[in-house]
Symmetry: D4
């Protein structure tokens, strides 16, 4: 119930066409209602675009292809953009049956379908990536950011052990509006990048590494303890989350 | 040996029909005996229903289908209800051979056979679940609670990032006698639910998540540190344990 | 705004004594209002007793004596029972200045003042404690449970290494309505107690121990992995939380 | 050496007033030079404001009062704004001797002196804080953000266990340009806030808690695993870092 | 109630001097009774010497001097040997008031009073210690083992980085009946010792070290993963536990 | 070189049949020599039985079937008993080709061949096991202990949640010379057993469990923090190590 | 741009054949340029040999065979030596298609092709290895060190539990210029070796072990806490890194 | 016993002036002897300089001032250089009483006295340090390296967030023979330095930081996972160990 609907209802009460008791009940009911569609195993939040600027996104992890397809169909039917992250090829097969025009991004492991009227962000989101092995996550960020209406630039394989690779690209780095830095192993890249730019840096630790990398823990701790200012961190391998945060920054 | 049996034995001693030495031996033996049936690899506790209100439950994890079937057959033969948790389909195949009427709950990964006279609980156990990916655990709790004689209500996919989905169901939440809250990732849902109700809340962290979720550790720690009162916690993915605790509450 | 207040307001609209626009504004305002008193550094929730059965409790940890005294004064002034946990003697000095009749429980490190009309719980809460060193936490639970309207029974120093100490008290154990088990070191006591009773067991790990106890982590993990059913767990050293959960069970 | 200085140098070479070898040496030297002042134990970066929008900040932790004062004097002498975080009162005593107009913020444990021409940010930074015990960190963020040229709004003690305290302030929440959410214990607040706004959310876990809070680890993991989008995280107790990141967002 | 007491009671029943009902009650009572003396805060187990070969030992950690003295007095009064571990000098002051002949071992931080008839062990317990900093723990083991009736031999400061120090003492090492090896840092000494002897080796990790020693965790893990056979491990800094285990071995 | 060989050599020097320089070289060489057979990838220690009472044991983990078979053949050829632990069926196939009489113990995952003259231990080693899922490890201990010359007794599936199962077998428990206790989940069983016996207890944590069991860490920490005396601990799932330690105790 | 190139450019400016503005632009461009070849997914650093003494090495982990082959082809084409570590057989298949003479080292899981003019190191690198199961890592170190121009010596299966195996090889140990020690389980070997030699020791923990080895963490912590001086440590299973560090030592 | 002493002894046997039995005994005794002086609580290894190039060093941590002074006196009396690390001022007071010329280095917390004939290393050891707060550890390394006969160069406060501070000192960096890099927080500096030089890099993580630095764990993990080659790592805060390793490199 919007403010104007409430005003109209109260006008009806004044006009005597609506009984005060009935009106009270209607208001209470509206306060309880929510734009949520119940599929039994999931409640699709079809008004999320209104509240948060982008429709509900489906995390493919831990859901069956059938569940993913069912939620995807409902989102697309409501005219909204579709994004499924961590989607296996089987999930894409299931989604394509009910949403034929959907695209599968192999490197990013994401299913997308642009729809609706996503506003454009103010500047460019630069995605910096330390090594070839971090590509999955960097591409998840890239696909997400693009679908959310942002221009993106990619700067890949510029780890700190060959610092000149990074320094030789300072122009591109400094023209970004937000920088996403994806790195595994020791996760040192965001500290160096954070010292080169004035804009916000979102750091994404990846699970790339072995031994004392402990599944990305080393990179995560490194980024949280960054001596550079302006760096904030998302979960290990969370390319989507970094892009969503960067997109919010780019749209505010 | 019950108190009445002891009384009878002592009467025999007084009547001279039983020698004191023999009686002493009988009492000592009875003190050592226990209603436990030894299968070699397992000791089936067929009197557990008397002591604890529900027969012994079989944890399928780490047992072979043959071992599970053998224990299941023994429990059913003693007239008690059967519950096997974490049961793979192969385990069900083996159990069905010796206990044909047993049912397999795919989502809950549980085998059940209601038997005996399970008393009904006092109220409803509400099972709240944060996301679609937590369904396995929520259903394990639901199947367990039902078999233990409780009415249950399900409220699924109401994670805190869309708090209105939860708030719009306050009536159902507040009519529960006990609430089980199942959540992975950050495990914040029990804190919010705990602030909305007067009744006990059992929190179940799940291993759903990735990266710094560390197999459910993040959710577990979140729930243990809940700022809401009245929340207690069970092991990660322990839907069964939550239901058993809730059922004890509902039957006391 | 209660339902009856809403009805009255709408009657005024119908009677024409209240303009619909003004009424709409009043309703919106009421929806936003909350029974919260803002002290600048804290928002005292003076209606919590209505919603959750017991007033807001002050966690003394990390608050200055002056802050504690200020919140305490506000709670007492609203006619509600006072409970401050983890209170240092200095905090008590500050509270006593503004709430002279408040009591300090040295062993439990708690400040209390019973007030208002706390309903009595249905049965007895038994507090079992493994060793002398766990007394602080057991007493925090005892003081909390008593203030919340519960009868309590104490069974202290009955650790599992001398199992006969526990078994010889089975009668008291089995007459409880809820059992709180407080244990440090390996935290094995709840598993044994859980196997002896039909009622809910709330386990409280304590930080008592050294070396690989890791500040209570060993006991916490032990309790979460309990092979007994019906056991749920609260945070390390959280005697208050266990009592609050037990009291909810005892009042439902 | 700026581009114009380089152009001038090369003009001299062409004009014959500068020998090519000498010029080569000058360029090489300039490439190696950096605007860094060496105090022996520290290299003060007096050009950081040019590169990053705010001068070098002194982390008080692990430095002696004399070291802090010495660096502070150098920064102030270069006409830049002064910020010392994690400053003990003794550090303030030492700083005041050399920088008399500096201010000490007791709650925030920070020393500040506004200087130079810090540009104003675009909107308001809202600082949300879960509990009274998190005030130190929230205030560190507030003092930092203000000194960096941002308007701030404070919303304190609105933890998720009393969700209505937060929901009743939705208007303030939704008018912010960036939101910093400070929370200890389970760290659930950023997930709820993240679901209510469209703007970026910076989450700050605090070390408030006990037992399985493990010095803020529980809150940190909770925030990293947030199911809300648009949330990024800084180090435990890093109010300064959150404010710096938020200020970058607010100035981009 | 011993077997002979039970026989006697049943003889009385047969003789008619004891009513069967009364006898039944007596037996039930005896089954519940246990040789435990309740001091309120502690249950002193005065029969432990009968069951386990050595009286109850007082862990000083987490107990007040008054509590320690009170339990100590009770143990000594029952004619048993006294051992208080982890005893601060203040605890000794309190104990000496009630048990004047007690001795304080400064290095071992233990209070002892030999009493009763402790049987002698079969051979010598050798206590090997890696470094000077591990002396506290080695001495706790030595004092404990001696009081429990064992001959002991000390071989201190023979860490593996100077392996010849150890190898030059092979004769003493090989004449021991049990070996206790105390080591901090990397905890490698038990592996080397385990490869030199045929007898059981009890390894005690100590919290000596810094950085990645993590309070003894490195040594503990090292010892648990020992590639030598015949090595078992006790808790970090648990010199007492090692001696108690060694004494059991030496007395069996 | 044995002492008698040395004596003989020196006699030759005196007799003039051996040059002092040559003798010096021989002694130096002997000091360097060791009864080790180099297979390239492994050095088989064929004199270990002399030094430690039992020949070298092959840990199957991380070795190829061919490597295992090659080492096994060499041990058997030297007339010693063969034990391969953690042996997959493929390893057994390879071993059987070169050592046809070897036996495979499926439950224990071990390959054995008794040979040589292993002395008998003094008493019985009792192997107590908490649950059916711990059988693999308990059997590894049993097979090892038997091969090492010990009489063994098995007491399986007597977890603490049904404490009467354990207490009813006290006679068997108390007649053991050493007790090995195998338990997963919370690992509480050794504490209870340790309180019932006078003899040494070796605790073996298993990786049985899920969630916060963390691969046996919970059981391991529980056992290290046992409040019972006389308990020492081996690595998670190390049934072999427990048996080897118990056998040393039983042979000393 | 080298110094001589810069001198030449400035001579042209002086000679008037190059405009100062154009020259300025050339210098700026050169400062930004770097000898990096961009393959889209990777930036091959073909000048690394000049800067660091050995060309870029390909970590096979997390790269597809096609990616590995593509980078390998580019390195070989530039006349440099090829080393791919952690290479699966499929990666070798792909590399062989584009670099036919490349060799696959099965035990070391490495692909190599010697090329160019690698200088010889000063002495021998000794690779010591605790057990047969550590061979993969020891061989990775051996293959790497050889390709980098070092003489190597192998001393395998000399774990500390049979210390004589190590001591009998002291001559070889003491003739090394650098020692690499590879060990899993408790990781004690570097401490013993470090005490026997004067030269630098590089310790490599391996993930060999089970239970509380926690994937090599126990060995890693043991090595970091080594009581021997002169020992430094690389990541778990990082045979390559140890060899690279040893080679730098051997070439300096 | 040296080789020449052995030769002489055997000559005596041949000459008949020494009985073969007596000679055998002498040789056995010599094999057992070691140049170790037993102080009761410590065994001073006065021949370590011969074996390892530098005398035994005293770790002050966990030793009393009296113990330190006693060991120091013995080392100095044998004509060797003295180094006490982690020495509190009280330890220095005690040492000065028995070794008056000893020096105390406040920043490094070390006591030194150069003595004997320490050979000079081949080149310069450069000590690079990320921040002012890491000075204690950097100075411990500097003092140690100097005493061990090395020329050193210091480059302090060049953390990666201001990468130009480091890059502007490339000449000094590249003229070093070994580089020690000391860094806390995210520990990224060794990766960048490792990419700039050809020589060995020893990384020292420090415990500087807060929150998720976890006492230096973040820096330690970062350094172990360094993407630069040629980097090896020592324990957290182990400036001494880094210098000892660097000195071995510099002397080999």
């Amino acid at each position: 119930m919007t403010t104007s609907e409430l005003q109209k209802l109260l006008d009806s009460v004044k006009a005597g066409t609506l009984d005060p008791s009935a009106a009270a009940q209607l208001i209470i009911t509206a306060m309880r209602a929510a734009p949520v569609e119940d599929l039994g195993f999931a409640r699709v939040d079809t008004h999320r675009e209104l509240r948060q600027g982008f429709p509900e996104v489906i995390l493919g992890l831990g859901k069956t292809p059938a569940q993913i397809a069912s939620i995807a169909a409902r989102i697309v039917a409501s005219g909204q953009a579709l994004l499924v992250t961590r989607a296996q090829p089987e999930a894409y097969e299931a989604v394509r049956e009910v949403v034929p025009p959907a695209t599968y991004h192999v490197e990013a492991r994401a299913i997308t379908l642009p729809q609706g009227d996503i506003p454009r962000g103010r500047g460019t989101i630069l995605i910096v990536c330390a090594g070839t092995s971090d590509l999955h996550i960097a591409e998840e960020a890239a696909v997400t950011a693009e679908l959310m209406g942002n221009s993106i630039d990619r700067l890949y394989d510029v780890g700190v052990a060959g610092i000149h690779r990074l320094l030789s690209e300072q122009r591109r780095i400094q023209s970004a509006h937000v920088v996403i830095v994806v790195a595994g192993m020791e996760g040192a890249l965001p500290s160096v990048v954070g010292g080169l730019v004035k804009v916000p840096v979102i750091a994404v630790p990846t699970s790339i590494g072995y031994g004392a990398s402990f599944g990305g823990l080393a990179a995560l701790l490194g980024m949280l303890n960054s001596c550079a200012t302006g760096v904030s961190v998302v979960n290990i391998d969370n390319g989507f989350g970094a892009a969503a945060a960067a997109s919010r920054i780019n749209h505010t």
